[in-house]
């Protein structure tokens, strides 16, 4: 995907949520990135490292937790996963499922020195 513009979004959200005077002391930005969010974690980290240098966040780093893709099947009531990110229950073969996790990207918390 376009990890550069996502990295930009993340910097903006952090700036909105952290007092200005604390921004340069941000040490780590903790993210949760879903398996099928469309984001490649390594590319995101790389892009972040490239664009952070002209911002108050230039001394910070990203830590990314990968969140697995988990479905709840409304038919057989089990939790399953799927290696293509499609809403197919691999236990019973039905598509009547709800996505529990694995498609979002979230900024969870920030560690400040």
């Amino acid at each position: 995907m376009h990890e550069l513009s996502v990295a930009q979004n993340i910097i903006e959200i952090v700036k909105e949520n952290i007092p200005e005077e604390d921004l340069e002391n941000v040490k780590t930005i903790f993210l949760e990135v879903g398996e099928f969010s469309g984001i490649v974690s390594d590319s995101l980290k790389y892009c972040f490292d490239v664009i952070k240098s002209d911002t108050p966040l230039e001394n910070s780093k990203m830590e990314i937790k990968k969140i697995p893709f988990i479905l709840f099947c409304n038919e057989c009531k089990s939790e399953t996963t799927n290696n293509m990110g499609i809403r197919l229950c691999e236990k019973c073969g039905e598509y009547n499922t709800k996505i529990l996790s694995g498609t979002d990207m979230q900024i969870i918390k920030v560690e400040i020195d």
Partner: protein, 216 residues
Amino acid sequence: MSIITIERKVLEKNDELAAQIRNKFKRFKTFVINIVSSPGSGKTSILEKTIEQLKGNINMAVIEGDVQTDFDAKRVEKYNVPVVQIVTNGGCHLEAKLVQDALENIDLKGIKFLVIENVGNLVCPAGYDLGEDYKVVVLSTTEGDDKPLKYPKMFINSSILIINKIDLLPYVNCNIKELRENALKINPNLKIFETSCTTGEGIEEWCKWILENIKK
């Protein structure tokens, strides 16, 4: 050392804006589709055929999205339909903010049908809500019948699939039965149309579906 909890989705801003745009479309009773595909699948051609067929029945407007040029807006302009061209200058997908900005140049009063033609890209537009009623993915026969399996997110997030350029089936290595099966394997709720802008085949059924969805 301290921890500040944020817990915000990265795409939250886009989603909030998209919800606002969706409300606006609801207030004006405008039916809106977001057409996505690889470059060259025939989005603009399908749009032209659609305008030709529906222009006399309903008021339409178009938002065009491209990396460069206003070629597509110029094509639509010929039909005297209100159109705004978004040029992203490198952006690989449309976002809600760009659509919101474009809507400042469209008077939605009386517009029953709005088409947002996204940037040609079978990957990135899948993740961005623009406030539409339906995402329509166009896949042409020249692209191959395995594409739904290779680009699942786009087909999962779309409600309609238009298989275009069906007139070329005798000349290309595309098994249309397999294409349909692959698409339905990824998303069994996909409604599928088959069209050719060259022969006009399938355009009427597609337009009939649009008319059925116009809000009274």
